[in-house]
């Protein structure tokens, strides 16, 4: 296990950092938020032009042939800039199509994803259902029945990758957002992002992969969430270190008060934990090893500790933290959204308990 990024991985990070860092200033964030839709399309096109939308896909479909570690590092950069993009669902869905799809499916779907013309999304969560690996949405005779919730970027996506139940166990299927029998209800997520509840009623769908595909999709989504949250917490913490070092009260920087400095030091330990378990899970997944335990530890640690980090960074900013024209609040809202994605700490802990005590 070696967490030092390879040259190719570091190149991805540097390039993504430059593009997102240059592009996403405060004005840009506010403009995208005002426009609605929670999607910075210009930035998406820049990422496509730079070849960053296919880093973990095979070279034969236009990708860079890197692995899940590279994808995790890219999502970490997105998190550190809280960039409103469909990077997580689209990249993970594409990786699953790449690894689990037939040759025909790969050639038909992926080149367009790499070029930025096609966006994929995922539909795995069901209302109040903690058992992600046993979906109640059913797939029989080529048709889907059931309801998925918190589907992101449905307005931009050309295809949904859905976890489904079949007589042979959980599987994955591909669905067009405009397919017959598909209805949608729009809602709002904590990070002010439009999300959809999607109901399938005899909706035609295309099977993809085998009995390992649904599990692989959930594994990679968990990894993606943790990696994004890693970037979010790292940046929120560095922002807070800077703020408390320059904000003065009682004639001195507030970071010199032990109650502030020690609380932030604790957050450094929390973030360090997210970094280590997330990279370990990524490394195992990329090397084809069983990563169930690492992923559950990582999701639990990221959920719980990111909440601590959000609370501490928010608190140490005082009133500034809640003001809409100061950047920190986005990190807090992202943390809350990501923490609840695919089940918050409690659900992960329960799943980990079941896994350890089996």
């Amino acid at each position: 296990m070696d967490f030092t990024p390879s040259e190719a991985q570091q190149a991805v990070v540097d390039l993504a950092e430059r593009i997102m860092g240059d592009h996403l200033d405060m004005g840009r964030h506010l403009a995208v938020e005002d426009a609605g839709g929670w999607f910075d399309r210009d930035l998406w096109e820049d990422l496509a032009s730079a070849g960053l939308l296919g880093i973990a896909l095979g070279a034969d479909v236009g990708g860079s042939g890197l692995d899940a570690v590279a994808l995790a590092l890219l999502l970490r950069v997105q998190g550190s800039h809280v960039a409103p993009l469909p990077l997580l669902p689209s990249s993970v869905a594409a990786l699953i199509v790449d690894r689990h799809g037939s040759d025909e499916q790969r050639q038909r779907l992926l080149p367009d994803v790499v070029a930025g013309g096609s966006i994929l999304t995922v539909a795995v969560q069901e209302f109040l259902d903690d058992r992600l690996s046993e979906p109640s949405t059913t797939f029989r005779d080529g048709l889907l029945y059931g309801t998925k919730v918190v589907v992101e970027h449905l307005d931009a996506a050309s295809l949904l990758l859905v976890t489904v139940r079949t007589p042979d166990g959980p599987r994955c299927a591909l669905v067009h957002p405009t397919a017959a029998g598909l209805t949608r209800v729009e809602g709002t997520s904590t990070r002010r992002q439009p999300v959809w509840e999607v109901t399938f009623d005899a909706t035609p769908a295309e099977p993809i992969g085998d009995d390992t595909t649904a599990g692989a999709l959930i594994d990679h989504l968990r990894l993606g969430i943790c990696a994004t949250q890693l970037g979010v917490t790292e940046r929120a913490l560095s922002m807070t270190a800077e703020y408390t070092s320059t904000r003065e009260q009682f004639g001195r920087p507030i970071a010199t008060f032990q109650a502030v400095g020690q609380r932030l030091a604790d957050q450094y330990v929390n973030v360090g934990g997210i970094r280590l378990v997330t990279l370990s899970a990524a490394w195992r997944l990329a090397n084809g090893m069983d990563a169930t335990e690492d992923l559950l530890v990582s999701k639990w640690w990221a959920s719980e500790r990111a909440t601590d980090v959000a609370n501490a960074t928010q608190h140490c900013h005082g009133g500034m933290g809640v003001a809409i024209d100061y950047p920190l609040h986005r990190y807090t809202l992202w943390n809350k959204h990501l923490t609840a994605s695919l089940g918050a700490g409690t659900q992960s802990l329960r799943a980990l308990g079941a896994h350890l005590a089996r």
Partner: protein, 423 residues
């Protein structure tokens, strides 16, 4: 039901003792009167939340307060000649206890009645009281508090806003921030520096300000929850009459400390919506979502029940002291710190109950209001640890004034305010 039993026992034991032989009969009669009034004018806590715009909320608030005045239930402990009901602290406690089960539409009056009104009553001249109290009690006028500045948060005594005497007027210059409700308030209580050559705590004075006067500009701040509860307030050559001084010149810090304690009591032990018990709502939510059999959730609910019970006793003790006319001491910090910690625990429990359902909600669907409301509560819970003095400030106060620990050394102790470096 176990929770019901506990609650009944607790209420019986905590019922204040009657002051006279007639006191108990009076209390029973008064309790019935309050219950009758609330049944006519508000909805129960357990009813679905009202979703109303702020303007509509203010109209309702004022109408509700007028109804209280008409029923002789407004400003319970204030004298009748100043617009109050002329009743006793016991009546106030009965009102607080009974109203805990109801959703009173008086949120916009939390600061006006929880902080400004007791300050005016405690420190105002007879003339000021006669002029301001009746309208404040009836909510004809609504008041805000202006302490924090961009450079003065936890170190509020270091504030920079100047007040300079000019004949029969004071001229105010500077900026206040995080002023709750200023955009709908008529008056405010402001602290400004009247003598920069004195040490920072000694050169401050407190004033009554009519926010509609020229030279005062209120700009709303948008918060991460989407709400617009806070404001920046800019004073540029704002002239106010000399008679608007509250207390003595350069004695403003003593008054500010009192007002901060009223604020802490109001946040941590007030009788309003801010301190309504969340446990029963969360238990209902757990049942609705099928999580009520989860042992971890059940432990969380039991823990919350215990903590809310204790919080209720802390609040009751402090409120009776305040209603008896005492300015709260450091026990206000205990209530405030405890309230902030409890808000965070409630938030964490709410999130573990609501889980994924708290991640997103359907804007138009009333059944997902619950998710939206808890999600919004969870985002705003952290503010409880900041507003009215951070947790760290409260802990310092408890350490120094309750435990008698030595103060942290202050290298600028005794130095004139104008000689202390600031950025």
């Amino acid at each position: 039901m176990p929770t019901g039993t506990v609650a009944v026992v607790a209420e019986t034991e905590m019922t204040p003792q009657p002051a006279t032989d007639d006191g108990f009969a009076d209390e029973v009669e008064f309790t019935a009167r309050v219950e009758g009034f609330l049944a006519d004018h508000c909805s129960r806590i357990s009813d679905p939340a009202d979703d109303e715009s702020e303007a509509h909320g203010l109209v309702r608030t004022r109408a509700f307060q007028r109804a209280l005045v008409d029923a002789g239930l407004a400003g319970l402990t204030y004298p009748t000649q100043l617009g109050g009901a002329g009743l006793t602290p016991l009546h106030q406690e009965v009102f607080t206890r009974v109203s805990a089960g109801w959703r009173l539409p008086n949120g916009p009056l939390a600061i006006s009645h929880g902080m400004c009104l007791p300050m005016l009553a405690q420190f105002g001249t007879e003339e000021q009281k006669a002029r301001y109290l009746p309208d404040s009690i009836s909510a004809e006028t609504i008041w805000c508090q202006m302490f924090s500045e961009p450079g003065a948060g936890s170190d509020v005594a270091g504030l920079s806003m100047r007040a300079v005497r000019d004949g029969e007027e004071w001229i105010l210059d500077g900026q206040k921030v995080w002023t709750s409700g200023a955009h709908y308030c008529d008056f405010g209580i402001v602290v400004a520096r009247t003598d920069p050559t004195l040490p920072k705590h000694q050169g401050l004075s407190m004033f009554i300000v009519d926010l509609r006067e020229p030279g005062i500009e209120v700009r709303p701040l948008v918060q991460m929850s989407g709400a617009r509860g806070f404001n920046e307030v800019f004073f540029s050559d704002a002239r106010i009459p000399a008679g608007n001084l509250l207390g003595e010149v350069n004695q403003g810090w003593n008054l500010a400390v009192s007002m901060l304690m009223f604020e802490r009591v109001s946040i941590g032990a007030g009788g309003g919506a801010l301190n309504a018990r969340r446990g029963p709502e969360l238990a209902a939510l757990a049942r609705d979502l099928g999580r009520a059999t989860d042992p971890v959730i059940r432990q969380g609910l039991a823990d919350l029940h215990i903590r809310e019970e204790i919080k209720g006793y802390i609040g009751q003790r402090i409120r009776s002291s305040v209603a008896a006319g005492r300015v709260p001491g450091p026990e206000g910090s205990i209530a405030k710190l405890n309230g902030a910690i409890l808000a965070r625990r409630t938030r964490d429990l709410a999130m573990s109950i609501i889980g994924t359902a708290g991640q997103a909600w359907d804007d138009g669907d009333p059944s997902s209001d619950v998710a939206a409301r808890w999600s919004s509560f969870c985002i705003s819970a952290a503010g409880m640890s900041i507003a009215g003095g951070t947790d760290e400030v409260q802990r310092n106060i408890i350490g120094e004034r309750v435990l008698g620990l030595p103060r942290e050394p202050d290298p600028f102790k005794g130095a004139p305010w104008q000689d202390i470096p600031r950025n």
